[in-house]
């Protein structure tokens, strides 16, 4: 036999007991040929293209998942930023038929989410993007699967603080428009510094302008596998050995994910894009990045030292993945979405994990302040200031950072907001009560840092 029983047992254990799954197979689809003179015509062209190209996506991916015995949790589509596809709107409402057409097409092909209701405004806005940004709250409130993102900063361009301020306002608006669902629309929106063009994860997925016509990107996920191994390692094993252990597992996870992605691309007759090897948690106990951190030696995630542990984890995941595949892309690191991770929820509830600690952690992991619920009376300016901090970390450190924050209407610190499914439930976390209003109202731009001048 070509494989030992231990190897076979390890794979079976990972897929059956430790929640190893492919988090998402995301079809990246260019809409650049769908530009038309009116919104109605554009919506029709977009709807037709999505339904035609993605018709076989869901059944094909399910079939492959069955063959490998590897669950594919989500099937998604990412689109060319819609603000580029239709840049002629002058009022937000004009774009709503387009948003709804995309959502309906996503429903018809059966995907879980569709991303790309996005705009890149890190340096400035056109009249069209201004209307587009205005349309986001209602677009998200009146659709089910649509996800939206804004690029607000890059290391090369600096931070567009006018856009940051406006983002704070639209986040409040989204929360208000989905008041009965805990501000659910905010969970489908994220803003970025150094946004990546091939990220398969929602809410931030979009199909970059440098991408091919249609590609298959894959996000693999295995916090449960890493958690199990770290938990069963000796408590006195030195950290370099723990890094080695995580690296080896990451190699295996990546190889499994890439196999699924390439097979999906082959059967769909499309190009394989990238594998994103982010450790993405789910609310299922055990399948948690917070638990991995705790297993490394903390009473609770968020305790002093957590940032160092997360740095070790993120780096080991990247090293193992980089050796396993030459198509690593997307965000690739570790996600720390509070509401989607059982141990993080608990840590936040107990006060071990604060927004400030999370902010520090985002300087060493792949994303940012993710799925954080704050009190409903948090002002738009305070939210904008939280975003500005996060954008600054991304800009200065040449990395992607993001904010997905939910000012849950009517909720106070200690309340729990339920979102359901993979989005989980978020404990409302306290926010620093001092006012950053004057700073935010200044607007303008924070210039790009000196190390952006690299040519």
């Amino acid at each position: 036999m070509d494989y030992t029983q231990a190897e076979i047992l390890q794979t079976v254990r990972m897929t059956e007991m430790e929640h190893l799954d492919v988090r998402t197979v995301t079809l990246g689809l260019s809409l650049r040929d769908c530009v038309r003179a009116t919104v109605a015509e554009t919506a029709e062209a977009v709807r037709e293209k999505i339904e035609r190209t993605a018709a076989r996506l869901v059944p094909t991916v399910n079939e492959i998942g069955e063959e490998f015995g590897l669950r594919v949790a989500n099937k998604r589509i990412s689109l060319t930023p819609i603000s580029l596809v239709y840049d002629r709107a002058r009022r937000g409402e004009e774009l709503l038929p387009l948003a709804r057409a995309i959502d309906e097409a996503a429903g018809r092909v059966g995907v879980d989410f569709i991303g790309g209701y996005s705009a890149l405004i890190h340096k400035g806005e056109t009249e069209g993007t201004r209307a587009f940004v205005d349309s986001i709250p209602e677009a998200l409130a009146s659709t089910e699967r649509l996800c939206s993102s804004l690029s607000l900063a890059t290391t090369r361009a600096g931070i567009n603080m006018d856009a940051v301020r406006r983002t704070g306002e639209i986040i409040k608006e989204m929360a208000e428009r989905t008041r009965e669902h805990g501000g659910l629309a905010c969970a489908k929106f994220v803003c970025f510094a150094n946004a990546v063009e091939d990220n398969p994860f929602v809410a931030g997925t979009f199909h970059g302008v440098g991408e091919a016509e249609a590609v298959v990107n894959v996000g693999v996920s295995g916090p449960g596998v890493v958690n199990h191994a770290v938990r069963h390692a000796p408590k006195d094993a030195p950290l370099d050995e723990m890094a080695e252990l995580i690296k080896r597992l990451s190699f295996k996870l990546t190889r499994a994910g890439e196999l699924v992605g390439r097979e999906a691309a082959r059967r769909l007759g499309l190009k394989f894009g990238i594998i994103d090897l982010s450790l993405a948690p789910t609310p299922t106990p055990g399948d948690s990045v917070g638990e991995i951190l705790e297993a490394l030696g903390f009473e609770r995630a968020g305790a002093p030292g957590t940032t160092a542990a997360l740095a070790l984890l993120t780096d080991a995941v990247k090293k193992g993945g980089a050796m396993a595949s030459s198509a690593v892309g997307g965000l690739s690191g570790a996600f720390i979405p509070v509401s989607e991770d059982a141990a993080m929820i608990e840590a936040a509830r107990e006060g071990a994990l604060t927004i400030e600690k999370l902010e520090a952690m985002t300087s060493v992991c792949s994303v940012g302040l993710d799925m954080i619920a704050v009190p409903g009376d948090t002002s738009a300016e305070t939210i904008a200031a939280i975003i500005a901090d996060e954008m600054a970390i991304g800009m200065m450190n040449n990395k992607t950072t993001a904010v997905r924050i939910i000012p849950a209407p009517g909720k106070k610190v200690g309340d729990i907001v339920e979102f359901g499914g993979l989005l989980g439930s978020a404990p409302v976390m306290p926010v620093n009560r001092f006012d950053p209003g004057v700073f935010i109202r200044r607007g303008g731009r924070i210039p790009a840092p000196i190390h952006s001048l690299r040519n």
Partner: protein
């Protein structure tokens, strides 16, 4: 995409036969004719390689693993399902340690009369009846995860 190495080799062979005096355009036309004639065969061979795998683990083989408490009839029941589905057993490894039954079967599904999903449904049903867990996964997954 054209296989440049192959075109180069065909060109050399043509010049070898016709001598260096041969008309350049004729040679070029000949080389392209030969290349186009063999290209489909090359493409399908490459496709075969990628979809079925050689050393890379095979897409047309399943690794069936069975775990549970030992009792008579497990091997018979599992192989019965494989036989009915027209899958041949390439390799089989079975042990019992302290009453715990473990078996791994490598099965060829090239001539299988049903889909992997249908086969797995039958395994699930039979597993419940026997009180064991039966998993079936494509062989190339194991290769990807455990071989560099």
């Amino acid at each position: 995409m054209a296989n440049e190495e192959l075109i180069y080799r065909i060109t050399r062979a043509v010049y070898g036969r016709l001598g260096t005096q041969a008309d350049e355009q004729t040679v070029e036309a000949l080389v392209m004719d030969v290349y186009r004639a063999v290209e489909p065969a090359l493409a399908s061979a490459a496709d075969e390689g990628s979809s079925k795998g050689g050393k890379e683990g095979r897409a047309d083989r399943l690794i069936v693993s069975v775990f549970g408490s030992d009792h008579p009839g497990i091997v018979a029941a599992v192989s019965q399902i494989l036989a009915e589905a027209r899958c041949s057993i390439i390799d089989i490894n079975q042990t019992v340690v302290q009453g715990k039954f473990a078996m791994v079967i490598v099965a060829d599904i090239t001539r299988a009369g049903e889909s992997v999903a249908a086969l797995k449904d039958r395994f699930r049903g039979e597993g419940d009846r026997l009180g064991v867990r039966i998993y079936a996964q494509r062989e190339d997954l194991f290769n990807a995860m455990h071989r560099i």
